[in-house]
C-alpha cells in the first residue's frame, strides 16, 4: 500500500475529492440563485411586461372610446379599436392566462390577474357595443343613442378601465416590490456564492498544496539521501550507507544501494590490497635487483681493467656490452624504485617555484652547459604541494626538453604559468623535435618510448612519473605539439590538493 503509485493515487484522489466537494458546494449555492433568477425571469418580468402592456392598451382604448363619443368620423380610430379589441388585448389576455397558470391558486396575484382578464374581456365587449351604436353620423344625431353610448362609457367602460388601471397599478407595485426583494436576495446569494467559491477554493488549494508537498517530500527525501550517499561514496567514503524508513520502492532502492556499496567497498579494499602488494613487489624487486647488478657491474669492471689487452676483440666487445647493459639496468631499477616510492611522501608544504627551478637548474647544470640550453623562467608563484615530487616533475620535463632536441639547434626551454581561481596552470615549452599528434596520447604510459636508445637515451618512465605526480596534486597533464615545431607540456596543480576535486 505504501508504494509510490499508491501515494500518487492518494494525492490525486484527495485533490480531486476536494475539488468535487467544492463543485458540489458551489452547485448547491448556485441552485438557490438559479431558483431566484427563475422567479424573476418567468414570473416577475413577464408579469411586469404584461401589466405594462395592459396599461398601455387600456389607456389607448379608453381614449379611443372617448374620441368616439366626441367625434364621428375616423376609420383610423375604428380600425385601431378593432386591432386592440380583436388582436392585441385577446393576445394579451392569453399571455396573462398562460402566466397565471403557473401561479399557485391561492396566490393573491392570481386572482388580481384573473380579475384583469375578465374585466378586460367585458370592456372589449362594451367598447365594441359603443362603436356599433355610433356607427354612422346619423347615430350621433339620435339623442337616445348618444345617451346610451355616454352611459355605457361613463357607467361601464370608464369604471372597467378604472378598475383595470387600479388592479394593474396594485399588481405593478406588488411585482416591483417582489422584484426588488428577489433581486436583493439574488444579490446576497451571489455575494455568498462568491465568498463560498473564494473560501472553498482557497481551502482546496491549501489542501492540495499540502497533499502535494507531503507526497513530493516523501518521494524526494529518500532520493536526496540516495543522491548524497552516492556522492560520498564517489568521494571515497566507501563505508557510508543510507538509512531510509518505510516500505516503498525507494526504500527498496536504498537497500539495493547499500548492497552495492558493500560490494564496492569489498572490491576497493581488494584492489588496494593488491596495489600495495604490487608496489611492495616493485620496491623489493628493484631493491633486490640492485645487489646482483652491482656485483655484475663490479666484476665486469675488474675484468675490463685486469684483462685489458689479453682478450681478443670479441671478448672486449662483449665485456663492454655487459657493462653498458648493466648500467642501463641500474638506471631502470633506480627509476622503478623512484616510481614506486612516489606518493609515500605525504607532507604538503609551500614551495617557492623559482627556488625549486634554480635547484633543478643546478642539478642539471652540466647538461645545460653541454647542450648550451637557455632555461627561461621568471617570478614563478609559491604553491602548495609535495616538494620532492614537484622537483622530480620539473626535472623530468626540463630534461626531456633539452634531450629531445634537433641537432645543431640551441635548445630554448621556457617555464611559464597562469593563475586560475582553483589551480595553477604551468607550461614547459621547448623548440625541440616535437611530437606527432598520433603519439601524444601514448607518451605518459610507463616504459613508452618513441625513439631508440641510440637516438635519445632514457628509460621511458619519466613522463609516467610526471603523470603520477600531477595526479597526486589533483591536476592534469597534456602536451600541445607538432612534429619539428617544438612541444609545450601543460599541467595543472590544485591550489589545495587536499580537497577532493578534479581540476582541469
Amino acid at each position: 500500500m505504501n508504494t509510490i503509485k499508491s501515494k500518487l493515487i492518494l494525492a490525486f484522489g484527495t485533490t480531486i475529492t476536494v475539488l468535487l466537494l467544492v463543485m458540489v458546494l458551489k452547485s448547491q449555492y448556485s441552485k438557490k440563485s438559479e431558483t431566484i433568477q427563475e422567479v424573476i425571469d418567468f414570473r416577475i418580468e413577464p408579469a411586469l411586461e404584461i401589466l405594462h402592456e395592459y396599461r398601455t392598451f387600456n389607456n389607448e382604448l379608453f381614449l379611443i372610446a372617448l374620441n368616439k363619443i366626441s367625434s364621428t368620423k375616423s376609420d383610423k380610430i375604428t380600425n385601431r379599436m378593432k386591432v386592440i379589441t380583436e388582436v392585441e388585448l385577446p393576445h394579451l389576455n392569453n399571455r396573462a392566462f398562460d402566466l397565471i397558470a403557473t401561479f399557485p391558486p391561492d396566490d393573491p396575484e392570481f386572482s388580481s390577474f384573473s380579475k384583469i382578464i375578465s374585466t378586460s374581456d367585458n370592456a372589449i365587449i362594451n367598447v365594441k357595443d359603443m362603436f356599433i351604436i355610433l356607427q354612422t353620423n346619423n347615430d350621433y344625431a339620435k339623442i337616445e343613442k348618444l345617451n346610451v353610448s355616454s352611459t355605457l362609457l361613463k357607467d361601464k367602460i370608464a369604471l372597467q378601465f378604472s378598475e383595470i388601471d387600479h388592479l394593474v397599478s396594485a399588481l405593478q407595485i406588488n411585482f416591483n416590490l417582489e422584484s426588488k426583494t428577489k433581486k436583493t436576495e439574488l444579490n446576497r446569494q451571489l455575494i455568498n456564492l462568491n465568498k463560498i467559491i473564494v473560501i472553498s477554493s482557497t481551502v482546496a488549494i491549501l489542501i492540495s498544496v499540502l497533499v502535494a508537498f507531503k507526497t513530493i517530500h516523501s518521494i524526494v527525501k529518500p532520493i536526496k539521501i540516495l543522491q548524497d550517499g552516492a556522492k560520498r561514496i564517489s568521494k571515497g567514503d566507501y563505508e557510508h550507507r543510507v538509512t531510509l524508513n518505510g516500505k516503498d520502492e525507494l526504500n527498496e532502492l536504498g537497500d539495493n544501494f547499500n548492497n552495492m556499496a558493500n560490494s564496492l567497498s569489498r572490491s576497493f579494499e581488494n584492489i588496494n590490497s593488491k596495489n600495495k602488494e604490487l608496489e611492495q613487489f616493485v620496491y623489493i624487486a628493484s631493491h633486490d635487483l640492485q645487489e646482483p647488478l652491482r656485483t655484475i657491474s663490479s666484476f665486469s669492471k675488474i675484468l675490463t681493467e685486469q684483462y685489458k689487452g689479453q682478450l681478443d676483440d670479441t671478448g672486449e666487445h662483449s665485456l663492454r656490452f655487459i657493462s653498458e647493459a648493466t648500467s642501463r639496468m641500474q638506471f631502470l631499477v633506480k627509476d622503478l624504485m623512484d616510481y614506486s616510492r612516489l606518493g609515500n611522501d605525504k607532507s604538503l608544504e609551500t614551495i617557492n617555484c623559482d627556488e625549486l627551478i634554480l635547484g633543478v637548474q643546478t642539478d642539471l647544470s652540466e647538461l645545460i652547459k653541454d647542450t648550451n640550453t637557455d632555461l627561461i623562467f621568471n617570478e614563478l608563484p609559491n604553491i602548495n604541494g609535495y616538494k620532492t615530487a614537484l622537483r622530480l616533475l620539473f626535472q623530468n620535463l626540463i630534461n626531456n626538453a633539452m634531450k629531445f632536441q634537433k641537432k645543431g639547434v640551441k635548445p630554448i626551454v621556457e617555464i611559464f604559468y597562469e593563475d586560475d581561481q582553483n589551480f595553477w596552470k604551468f607550461g614547459v615549452k621547448d623548440n625541440g623535435i616535437g611530437i606527432a599528434p598520433e603519439h601524444q596520447s601514448k607518451i605518459f604510459s610507463i616504459f613508452k618510448r618513441l625513439h631508440t636508445n641510440k637516438e635519445y637515451q632514457g628509460t621511458g618512465i619519466g613522463l609516467a612519473h610526471c603523470q603520477k605526480i600531477i595526479e597526486m596534486h589533483k591536476g592534469r597533464i597534456w602536451v600541445e605539439s607538432q612534429k619539428n615545431q617544438g612541444s609545450t607540456f601543460y599541467f595543472t596543480l590544485a591550489k589545495n590538493p587536499d580537497i577532493d576535486s578534479v581540476l582541469v
Partner: protein, 392 residues
C-alpha cells in the same frame, strides 16, 4: 536489435491500419448521425385570376407568394422542408376551380392550397377534405366562408366589414337614394348585402341591379337610372362596370360613385376612360398595416419583379398568409410523426396562431379559422392606379 525493430515497426503498422479502420467507422457513424431525417418537400398550390378578369387579385398575390417562398427556401435550415409553389389560372370563375385543383393535386400532390375566389373556395370543399389538403383564402373572409370545412382558413380582410365602410360613407354624406350595380358572384353579393344592412338602419333608399357577365353597354339602363334620380351609384363588380361609369358620366350623371376593393384593376380604368376618378372605395395600403414591414415588402417585390403590384392589398394579404403558413411548416419535419396526417398537424398548428406580426398588422387566427387584424379604410380614386385616403 533488428528483430526488435522489425517487431516494433510491425506493431506500428498494425496500429496505423486499425486507426484508419476506426476512423472510417467513426466517420461513417458521424456521417449517419449528421444526415438527420430525410429531406421533406411540401408542394403548395395557388389558384387565382391571372387572365381575363380581376387580374389584380391574381398576379400580385401570386408574385407575393412566390417571393415569400423564395425567401423561405433561401433562408431555411437544413432540417426544414423545401417548399415548392405551383400556380394555376382560374380566370376568376368558380367553374375553373375544381379542374385547377385536380391538376395541382395530380401533377404536384399539393398539400396546401391557396385560392382567392370565394366561390372557388366553396367549390373545392369536398375535394380538399377528402384529400387532406389545407386551404387558405388569402383574399376574403366573409360569413359564407365561415361555413367551410375545418381544413379551410381565411387569412384576409372581412368582406362585410370592408364593404360596410361604403354604406357608412353614404350615410355620412347624407345621400338618400342609392343604386347598387352588382356582379353576380358570391363576394359581390355579400358586399352589397353588407352595405344594404347598414343603409336600411339609416332609412336610406336603395335598389340593387345585377349586371350580366361580360356586359359592356349600360347606356339604356343608365338613362333609366338617371331618370329615377339616384343620388349615389355603387359599382360592386369588376372591369365591365368601367363601361357603366363612363356611360353614366356621358349621360351627365353627376352623383358620386362608389366601388369595392377591386377598382385598381387597370382594365377598370381603361374601360371607364377616366370616369372612375373620384370614386370612393374601401381599400388597404401600407399605411393601414405595419408600415415598416410593408414598405420593405414592396421594395423586395420591386427588386424581384421590377414593378409594383397593381393593387397592393391583395399582394400584402397573400404575402402574410403564405408567410404565416410557411412559419408553421418550418417545423413539419420534426412534428410530422406525432400526427396521423399532415392536414391534422397543420390545422392544429394554424388554429393556435394567436399573434403573428405581418405586413398587414398583427394577425390572430380565431377559433373559426379566420384571421383578425386586417382592417380596410376609405380611399378615393385620384388618378390611374392611384388612390388616396379620404380625410373626413
Amino acid at each position: 536489435m533488428g528483430i526488435k525493430n522489425y517487431l516494433s515497426n510491425k506493431f506500428e503498422i498494425d496500429i496505423s491500419i486499425e486507426s484508419k479502420w476506426l476512423c472510417i467507422v467513426l466517420l461513417t457513424f458521424i456521417g449517419m448521425g449528421c444526415q438527420g431525417p430525410a429531406k421533406e418537400v411540401v408542394n403548395i398550390g395557388f389558384i387565382g385570376p391571372l387572365t381575363t378578369r380581376a387580374t389584380d387579385l391574381g398576379i400580385g398575390p401570386s408574385n407575393a407568394m412566390k417571393l415569400a417562398v423564395s425567401q423561405y427556401n433561401a433562408n431555411k435550415l437544413k432540417n426544414e422542408p423545401q417548399i415548392n409553389l405551383f400556380i394555376e389560372d382560374d380566370q376568376w370563375l368558380k367553374e375553373n376551380a375544381i379542374p385547377a385543383y385536380h391538376k395541382l393535386k395530380e401533377e404536384h400532390n399539393i398539400k396546401v392550397l391557396f385560392i382567392s375566389n370565394t366561390d372557388g373556395t366553396m367549390a373545392v370543399q369536398n375535394e380538399i377534405l377528402k384529400d387532406g389538403v389545407i386551404v387558405v383564402n388569402p383574399l376574403n373572409s366573409d360569413d359564407l366562408l365561415s361555413t367551410t370545412n375545418e381544413n379551410t382558413f381565411r387569412i384576409a380582410k372581412k368582406t362585410e366589414e370592408a364593404n360596410g365602410i361604403i354604406a357608412i360613407r353614404i350615410i355620412e354624406l347624407g345621400l338618400k337614394k342609392v343604386l347598387f350595380m352588382q356582379y353576380p358572384n358570391d363576394y359581390m353579393t355579400r358586399a352589397t348585402n353588407a352595405a344594404i344592412d347598414i343603409l336600411k338602419k339609416a332609412n336610406v333608399e336603395y335598389e340593387v341591379v345585377t349586371v350580366n357577365i361580360g356586359e359592356v353597354d349600360f347606356t339604356e339602363e343608365m338613362a333609366e337610372y338617371k331618370a329615377e334620380g339616384f343620388d349615389a351609384y355603387v359599382f360592386f363588380g369588376y372591369k365591365e362596370l368601367g363601361y357603366a361609369m363612363k356611360q353614366a358620366r356621358d349621360l351627365e350623371i353627376t352623383a358620386p360613385f362608389f366601388g369595392s376593393t377591386v377598382l385598381l384593376d387597370p382594365a377598370f380604368y381603361d374601360n371607364s376612360e377616366g370616369a372612375i376618378i373620384g370614386t370612393e372605395c374601401s381599400f388597404f395600403t401600407p399605411a393601414d398595416g405595419n408600415f415598416v414591414l410593408a414598405n420593405k415588402f414592396i421594395e423586395q417585390y420591386y427588386n424581384m419583379y421590377h414593378e409594383r403590384p397593381t393593387s397592393i392589398w391583395p399582394a400584402m394579404q397573400a404575402y402574410d398568409a403564405m408567410n404565416l403558413v410557411l412559419n408553421e411548416l418550418r417545423n413539419f419535419q420534426v412534428k410530422q410523426n406525432e400526427y396521423p396526417a399532415f392536414s391534422d398537424w397543420l390545422r392544429n398548428k394554424m388554429k393556435n396562431v394567436r399573434y403573428y406580426q405581418g405586413i398587414c398588422g398583427n394577425i390572430l387566427i380565431s377559433e373559426n379559422r379566420s384571421s383578425k387584424g386586417i382592417y380596410f379604410s376609405l380611399y378615393r380614386y385620384e388618378s390611374k392606379g392611384n388612390l388616396e385616403q379620404v380625410r373626413r
